[in-house]
């Protein structure tokens, strides 16, 4: 497993696996005529990839217990990402913009379903037009994801929202459900479009631009690739999984556990809040009925009732935004972790295949001194390529995750602050009302 081998693979490695346009080849494209933005855009994508790879190589040669070096790499990559996050920098590197919105319900005799509008704006030359607007349904997204997974097995494919919903529990056509799903689909597509490799996938291109999606296209070839990976997997135990991938697996296990806990806590809080809201509403109503039997105290008590009602509104708003904005992100990451674990598993299989063949070759070599066949070397290339891709994706994912959770948690804090601010304003105005009445009384007394 030499450095030279890894380098050699980086430029050519992917083609045998899937005959799909690689970002590195895209980086060579600037020769062809195209808008200026496209040139700088794809060049920088290529550059990033390069950086990822050169970062990747030393790790493999270093000692297996290099969790710290993994973190160092993350640190380095984060700096890169920090630049990308800068709005000006981002506008230079990004050249594919997608949005999912405007859900529409279709009712036919056969079935009822929802379609979403998928709008694309791009300067990439792979697209014939700078703008597209198509309607897609969930099935189509699902098709795209399967295609991506099959054609790009070494990459982390972002998750789709769950396909199945419990019948009766969730109304598939309710505005709330459709809205949440639309947001999740939008997130999925944006993540794919922002990915330096996935965004060049031909299936994505078809998904975004084709008037009618021909789902049969290229099916036979790709399913074969999937099988070849599955084929070798059976029961082989890895000799030594590199430490960094072990660390990834461990990280994912713990993270998914914590995420599950956070999800449960958030749900429990929502439940408590909704019960609190029920009681609070009744509480306000009692003040109203009390106001009705009083004379002097009528206005103050009505004021309290009104104030409690305002607080009810604030609690409701808080709960709504938490269930609509907070929980879906947690769900997405639970699914994301699954995708990530899946990729890790595939990587292990790939390594297993290589090790299996190498072992067989070594045995044969001892017998008849034959050179290590080309086939085994190819296998090794495949593993190296897999490792490189996975590491790049991992770093990207980590940085996205950090960004997403930062946003999510500050959002939670903001919503709570706004809830308290609204309540506080209500109580403060009540005090003015109560004290005004008192001074009013005093002046009337002196008169």
């Amino acid at each position: 497993m030499s450095v030279g081998a890894a380098r050699g693979l980086a430029s050519s490695g992917q083609k045998p696996i899937a005959e799909i346009l690689h970002p590195l080849s895209a980086a060579e494209e600037p020769l062809s005529p195209g808008p200026d933005v496209s040139v700088t855009g794809s060049a920088s994508v290529g550059g990033e990839k390069e950086a990822g790879l050169t970062n990747g190589t030393p790790v493999e040669t270093s000692s297996p217990a290099s969790a710290s070096s993994l973190f160092n790499r993350l640190q380095l990559d984060d700096d890169l990402e920090a630049d990308a996050r800068d709005p000006y920098a981002a506008s230079e590197t990004r050249d594919l913009f997608v949005t999912v919105d405007d859900p529409k319900k279709h009712v036919s005799t056969m079935e009822t379903y929802i379609t979403y509008r998928v709008s694309t704006k791009t300067t990439r030359i792979e697209f014939d037009l700078p703008e597209y607007c198509v309607r897609r349904r969930y099935q189509d997204f699902d098709w795209l994801r399967i295609k991506l997974e099959d054609s790009q097995p070494t990459h982390l494919i972002p998750p789709l929202p769950e396909k199945f919903v419990m019948k009766g529990v969730v109304d598939r056509f309710s505005e709330e459900f459709v809205e949440t799903r639309m947001k999740a689909l939008d997130k999925f597509l944006k993540r794919v479009a922002d990915h330096p490799v996935l965004s060049f996938n031909t299936h994505l291109n078809a998904f975004l631009s084709a008037k009618d999606l021909n789902k049969r296209q290229g099916l036979a070839l790709l399913s074969k690739v999937g099988e070849s990976v599955k084929h070798v997997a059976g029961g082989y135990k890895l000799r030594a999984r590199p430490a960094e991938f072990c660390a990834m697996g461990e990280y994912l296990d713990t993270f998914s556990q914590k995420l599950g806990t956070i999800d449960r806590i958030a749900q429990r809080i929502l439940k408590e809040q909704s019960e609190h809201l029920t009681e609070l509403r009744e509480y306000g109503a009692v003040y109203s009925s009390w106001a009705a039997v009083e004379d002097e105290l009528r206005r103050p008590l009505e004021g309290v009732a009104g104030c409690v009602t305002t607080c009810c509104g604030a609690v409701e708003e808080l709960s709504d935004s938490m269930s609509q904005d907070f929980l879906p992100v947690l769900r997405e990451y639970v699914l994301y972790i699954e995708s990530m674990k899946n990729v890790l598993r595939k990587r292990d299989q790939s390594q297993a295949e290589y090790e299996g063949r190498l072992e067989a070759a070594i045995l044969r070599k001892q017998e008849d001194r034959a050179p290590i066949p080309l086939e085994v070397e190819k296998c090794q290339d495949k593993v190296e390529c897999f490792n490189a891709d996975l590491k790049a994706d991992w770093e990207r994912w980590q940085s996205n995750k950090r960004q997403d959770f930062k946003q999510l948690l500050t959002g939670m804090a903001d919503k709570n602050i706004s809830y308290y601010e609204k309540s506080q304003a209500a109580w403060e105005s009540l005090i003015t009302l109560l004290q005004d009445k008192q001074t009013e009384d005093k002046t009337s007394e002196t008169n």
Partner: protein
């Protein structure tokens, strides 16, 4: 349920307006009543009134319930029991006003049961006064975290505050504060119990059955008292409902805060596997812990508001008790008047010799023959005498009843004013509490946000 509530509220609305119209007219009476109050007082309670009267005791004396202490002793059936005693401190107000070192207060210990006895005595002796209520004997309307144990320190502390409040309310009442038994309660530790029983107040206590029968038989009830009684019932229902719902709201709020505490733990655990996010998560977790812990103090403070409401919840009983006393007096007056009317009719019958209705007397006279002229004369004279007495009695009862209505209404007016003022203040302090809770919330979440931002 809600509909019914609204309609009853409506009806009460009109009745309270009637009541207010009445009270407006009697407002002037109350002012005049104040001046000649001492005369009626000296008539009724000459023995029990202190020499100085007309001003509240609180002007001359500082009173507080300084502390509570747990004691164990043997009760009457020689059973071991644990109870709480409260230390009452009194000191003359003047010495403090002069400045310098305040005088060493006189102190004595009283049990809750002695407070109860004092209140029972006041209730019987001053039927026309809305006697301030005692704090609850057992914790009511509690939410789950609050202990219902009588010896729980928090409960004892809240009761101490309540008992002090009771003493201050009595001591600031212009009639009650001048009561000798009350004064002795504050100053004489020994022999007070015996002194109370010597007043024979128990004989004056109206049997419950009697007052119950009066409730249904009064023919000409005073509309003002009916309205007041109705208001008392209404207020009782509403405040108890409010207290119950408030306890549930407190329960739920407690839940919301405490569940947030779990974030504290999970953030801290999660931070262990994160590099850059770790520090931010860890410290945000601490803020979540703070948030969860803050609810304890918030609800503890809110319990004070609940106590203020509870006082008025118990006040409704005192209000209704005055109404009941009025019914009783009214009933007695009506009975005497009825008796008087009967006798007059008898006399008329005897004088004219006619028997309008078939009666036992008519039967006997028919069976045993007409009574002699002489006998008739004697009977007539006796009847005359009893009619005279009856007339006196009716007059007496009438003035007694009028006096009761006058003094009671005066105290009711005072009570209404006190209630409106107290509750408005309670609402203000409740609003202030809510604001401070909101501020705390904003503070904690802002701190947490800062940590999240560092991630």
């Amino acid at each position: 349920m809600r509909k019914r509530c609204a309609s009853s509220a409506d009806s009460d609305n009109s009745s309270s307006q009637v009541m207010m119209a009445d009270s407006a007219s009697s407002d002037e009476v109350a002012v005049i009543g104040n001046t000649d109050l001492t005369s009626s007082e000296s008539e009724n309670n000459l023995i029990n009134t202190m020499v100085e009267r007309g001003t509240a005791l609180l002007n001359k004396m500082e009173i507080n319930v300084a502390e509570a202490e747990k004691r164990t002793g043997k009760n009457t059936v020689n059973m071991q029991e644990t109870y709480t005693v409260y230390l009452i401190e009194t000191r003359p107000a003047e010495t403090v006003q002069e400045g310098g070192t305040p005088a060493i207060p006189d102190t004595l210990w009283r049990r809750y049961s002695e407070f109860e006895l004092l209140r029972m005595y006041l209730l019987v002796t001053y039927p026309y006064i809305i006697i301030p209520p005692l704090p609850e004997k057992r914790a009511e309307f509690v939410w789950h975290k609050l202990s219902a144990d009588n010896l729980d320190p928090d409960f004892v502390e809240r009761r101490r505050v309540g008992l002090e409040n009771f003493l201050l309310r009595v001591a600031s009442h212009h009639v009650l504060s001048n009561d000798k038994i009350f004064f002795n309660f504050l100053t004489e530790e020994k022999g007070w119990r015996e002194a109370v029983f010597e007043t024979g107040f128990q004989d004056k206590a109206d049997p419950r059955l009697k007052s119950l029968s009066a409730m249904f038989r009064v023919k000409n009830p005073d509309k003002r008292f009916i309205a007041l009684k109705h208001y008392g019932d209404e207020l009782n229902t509403i405040i108890s409902q409010l207290l119950r719902v408030r306890a549930r709201v407190a329960d739920r709020l407690y839940g919301v805060y405490k569940v947030h505490g779990n974030y504290g733990r999970v953030f801290s655990e999660w931070s262990a596997i994160e590099k850059e996010m770790g520090d931010g998560l860890q410290s945000a977790g601490h803020h979540m812990d703070t948030y969860a812990a803050s609810i304890d103090d918030i609800l503890e403070e809110e319990e004070h508001y609940a106590d203020q409401l509870k006082e008025y919840y118990f006040y409704t009983d005192a209000v209704r008790s005055v109404c009941r006393k009025h019914e009783l007096i009214q009933y007695e007056l009506e009975m005497v008047a009825q008796d008087f009317a009967n006798k007059k009719q008898q006399k008329e019958e005897l004088a004219t010799g006619t028997v309008r209705v078939f009666s036992l007397k008519g039967m006997t006279s028919k069976l045993f023959g007409q009574e002699s002229q002489e006998q008739r004369e004697i009977r007539l004279a006796a009847l005359e005498q009893s009619i005279c007495e009856g007339e006196e009695l009716v007059k007496l009862k009438n003035t007694e009843c009028q006096e009761f209505v006058r003094t009671a209404w005066e105290d009711i007016e005072r009570f209404k004013e006190q209630k409106d003022r107290d509750l408005r203040e309670a609402l203000i302090s409740y609003a202030i509490m809510q604001i401070s809770m909101c501020k705390k919330g904003i503070q904690v979440w802002s701190n947490a946000k800062e940590c999240f931002n560092k991630m």
